[in-house]
């Protein structure tokens, strides 16, 4: 019945790991050929793969794991998906209903443990309710603000015969989030757009989650209005990096021009972003002179952190279509003089060239490695995943994204170990595409067991490891605000990654010389199979620009000079 429901929801692949309490479902999987099963090495990896699959396709990712440790291992992935609003359906086995509460073998209170880290979860105690619950699970995961859901299925329920109802015969769910924005609010925003002298679109992951139509409408709106567009880490690709209105990513490690535009704007249009603390910096000084509009499908995002003047609850694509129509119906008016002045200001900020760094011909600078990776892969059908840390920020700064669903990174939770399994999930969804995980060596080691999965399931993922033998971001913070006391932020016994590749049965490449970097990257790209690329980079490079914790947008650090003591004691507690 479970497999039938999955098929009815168009599931073509399941990421999972078998165990005692899910054997009946694995039996069903064995007896069919429509749904592919990717066997992982650790359940956390399964959820990240499902996330990679979901983010690169827009379809929900599906995970199947056993009870107890299978479920608890999935918790990090669930929390990651919740923070980044990724639709994932996790099915867990459970001990038989009559054993629940007896501390049975591999029993855990799965719905209890996962209640705060799922959008919703269910324990199915009656077989007749199984089909309806599975349909509801897919509905909840994918509608409104997407998120992870979990269905816990006791083993006796899996064995029992029950009545299957197809999705279209199931009782419609009462969970129906608002998708259509309030026309009065949209009209008010259109009126503000006409007069705005210094507007900015501040876009986020909600544009991507809303689907390709939202990205298309954002592009149309930006093109017609000429307003500058910046994006959060989660929203990269919704507006193309080559677009003429693009002013780069904003936030703690965002571009100078993007952050100053946010600080100095008089109209901020937040499209599917959530005023995360990595974006706002010091709340009291966040964009002090602007009117703020906020388009979000989740009412609880509105006024949570930043008070906004025009809240619009609704789906991004829906609201943008209405906004465009409303603005055009009013005569497509713009404050052209103001906009021209605003753009010349932004062009001045761009002259700072905030991503400049001191290159070297002796050692590979991580920024240089990414610039070369960008240059050599820009024209390919390319998907990028990352781990978490300095390399993640550099990847966001130096790689460009022309389309949505091409950039998969752990934003809200900041999960080290995300990128490798996520890259496998992406590759499974797009077997012919080039999938690169830009990694740091420390993050990569957290889920490196999944290389086995990549090789077994012939996912030719490229692991591009910027190896500085350090926890680079931790080291940077220790340098800047803990008196250069590098407590536990380096590794002394890293594996030889090239040999590790060999041990796993894939290709390993090591490069430490900037002169050979291009050649080495080409070797990675040309190899038909998974590659672990050990790129030995400068060990003490810092990631700039940087807005120190507790500082406003207009107090960015652009380089090492002046970075010392830049973060006060108050900022130090803010992470």
């Amino acid at each position: 019945m479970v497999v039938e429901a999955l098929k009815d929801h168009g599931v073509d692949v399941v990421f999972g790991y078998p165990g005692g309490a899910v054997l009946p479902i694995y039996d069903e999987i064995f007896l069919q050929n429509d749904i592919r099963h990717v066997t992982v090495r650790h359940e956390q990896g399964a959820v990240h793969m499902a996330e990679g699959y979901a983010r690169s396709t827009g379809k929900p990712g599906v995970v199947l794991v056993t009870s107890g440790p299978g479920a608890t291992n999935a918790v990090t992935g669930l929390t990651d998906a919740l923070m980044d609003s990724i639709p994932v359906v996790v099915l867990t086995g459970q001990v038989p209903t009559f054993m629940i509460g007896t501390d049975g073998f591999q029993e855990a209170d799965t719905v209890g443990i996962t209640r705060p880290c799922t959008k919703h979860n269910w324990l199915v105690k009656e077989t007749d309710k199984l089909a309806g619950t599975l349909h509801e699970a897919f509905h909840v995961a994918t509608s409104g603000r997407p998120g992870p859901v979990l269905v816990d299925i006791p083993k006796d329920v899996q064995f029992a015969d029950g009545l299957y109802t197809a999705p279209d015969e199931a009782i419609p769910s009462h969970y129906q989030p608002t998708v259509k924005g309030d026309p009065a609010a949209i009209e008010a925003l259109a009126a503000l757009m006409e007069k705005a002298q210094r507007p900015v679109f501040y876009t986020g992951g909600g544009v991507i989650n809303s689907g390709p139509e939202a990205s298309r409408l954002l592009r149309e709106l930006a093109e017609k209005t000429g307003f500058p567009v910046t994006s959060t880490l989660m929203g990269l690709g919704a507006y193309p990096a080559s677009g003429r209105n693009w002013i780069g990513m904003l936030g703690m490690h965002g571009l100078y021009e993007a952050n100053l535009a946010m600080h100095g704007c008089d109209l901020m249009i937040n499209v599917g972003a959530r005023f995360d603390d990595r974006i706002t910096g010091r709340i009291a000084d966040f964009s002090p002179k602007s009117k703020k509009a906020h388009i979000d499908i989740d009412p609880s995002s509105i006024n949570k952190v930043i008070h906004v003047d025009i809240p619009i609850v609704g789906d991004v694509a829906n609201v943008l279509a209405d906004l465009l129509a409303a603005w055009e119906a009013r005569g497509s008016k713009l404050n052209q003089a103001g906009l021209a002045k605003w753009w010349s200001q932004i062009e001045q900020w761009k002259l700072k060239k905030c991503l400049q760094y001191n290159n070297s011909d002796k050692v590979i600078k991580p920024q240089y490695a990414l610039e070369r990776l960008e240059a050599l892969t820009r024209d390919r059908d390319r998907y990028i995943t990352t781990e978490v840390g300095q390399h993640q920020m550099w990847a966001a700064q130096y790689l460009t994204f022309e389309d949505p669903n091409r950039w998969m990174t752990s934003g809200g939770l900041g999960t080290m170990g995300y990128g490798l399994p996520a890259s496998i999930g992406v590759q499974v969804a797009h077997p012919e595409a080039l999938v690169i995980n830009v990694a740091g060596e420390a993050s990569w080691l957290m889920n490196m067991q999944e290389m086995g999965t990549a090789i077994q399931f012939r996912a030719p993922v490229k692991q591009f490891i910027l190896n500085n033998e350090r926890l680079g971001m931790v080291r940077q913070w220790q340098q800047l605000l803990h008196g250069e006391r590098y407590s536990q932020s380096w590794s002394e016994s890293l594996p030889d990654f090239a040999k590790l590749a060999e041990a796993f049965g894939c290709k390993g490449i090591r490069c430490a010389d900037p002169k050979h970097l291009d050649e080495a990257i080409m070797e990675m790209l040309d190899y038909d199979g998974p590659v672990i690329f050990d790129c030995l980079v400068e060990k003490h490079e810092n990631c700039y620009p940087m807005i120190p914790s507790g500082k406003p947008h207009n107090e960015m650090l652009l380089g090492d000079t002046g970075a010392e003591d830049a973060i006060g004691a108050k900022g130090a507690v803010l992470v």
């Binding site: 209890g112 209640r115 603000r145 002179k289 009412p299 609880s300 509105i302």
Partner: protein, 186 residues
């Protein structure tokens, strides 16, 4: 930061509320939350309060629609206005939640709480307890030669007042249901 009295969105200085959160007035609100009566729904609601650091002053839960499997949770909570708004939004996005009403701001409402008071004593004190119970329209639901159990219904304030009076008269045990509330009128 000083306590600027800037209305939301109406300021030329700032588009957001600049009032110092420490100076914010703490308000008490009664929320009525209609939920699916399914396993774990109460844990979901109180887990939300605990996880996000909100207060629960009192909480009552009971099924109100047997056929529709709906329960009504009445929760009295305290917080700044922004926090109360956030609590309502967070409750509203829970999947089994059908409706959230803030009875404190959505027009007049009635609030009632039922309590049982055990008062032990003899002689004058016993007579006085009975006399006060009569004034408060409390019923005697159990009686021995040395004790009474009173049943009293009213607003939390009335019940607090009754408790204050009973304490010197031999109050030994209290059971309170927490607030049930409904909006007035049609």
């Amino acid at each position: 930061m000083s306590a600027l009295k800037i209305k939301k969105g109406a300021s030329s200085h700032s588009a957001y509320d600049l009032r110092d959160p420490n100076l914010e007035i703490i308000e008490t609100h009664t929320l009525a939350v209609v939920v699916d009566n399914e396993a774990g729904v109460l844990a979901r609601v109180i887990g939300l309060f605990a996880g996000r650091g909100y207060n629960i002053e009192s909480l009552t839960v009971a099924e109100i629609d047997h056929k529709g499997h709906l329960s009504r949770i009445t929760v009295v909570t305290r917080g700044t206005r922004a926090v109360i708004e956030q609590i309502k939004a967070q409750l509203g996005r829970l999947v089994p939640v059908h409706q959230v009403n803030d009875l404190t701001v959505e027009g007049p409402s009635v609030e009632r709480e039922l309590s049982l008071f055990k008062v032990a004593g003899t002689g004058e004190k016993r007579v006085e307890a009975l006399r006060l119970a009569d004034i408060f329209r409390a019923n005697v639901v159990d009686s021995t030669l040395e004790s009474f159990v009173f049943e009293i219904t009213g607003t939390p304030e009335k019940i607090d007042a009754f408790a204050d009076l009973m304490r010197p008269l031999g109050l030994t045990d209290v059971a309170r249901t927490g607030v049930a509330a409904l909006s007035r009128g049609g």
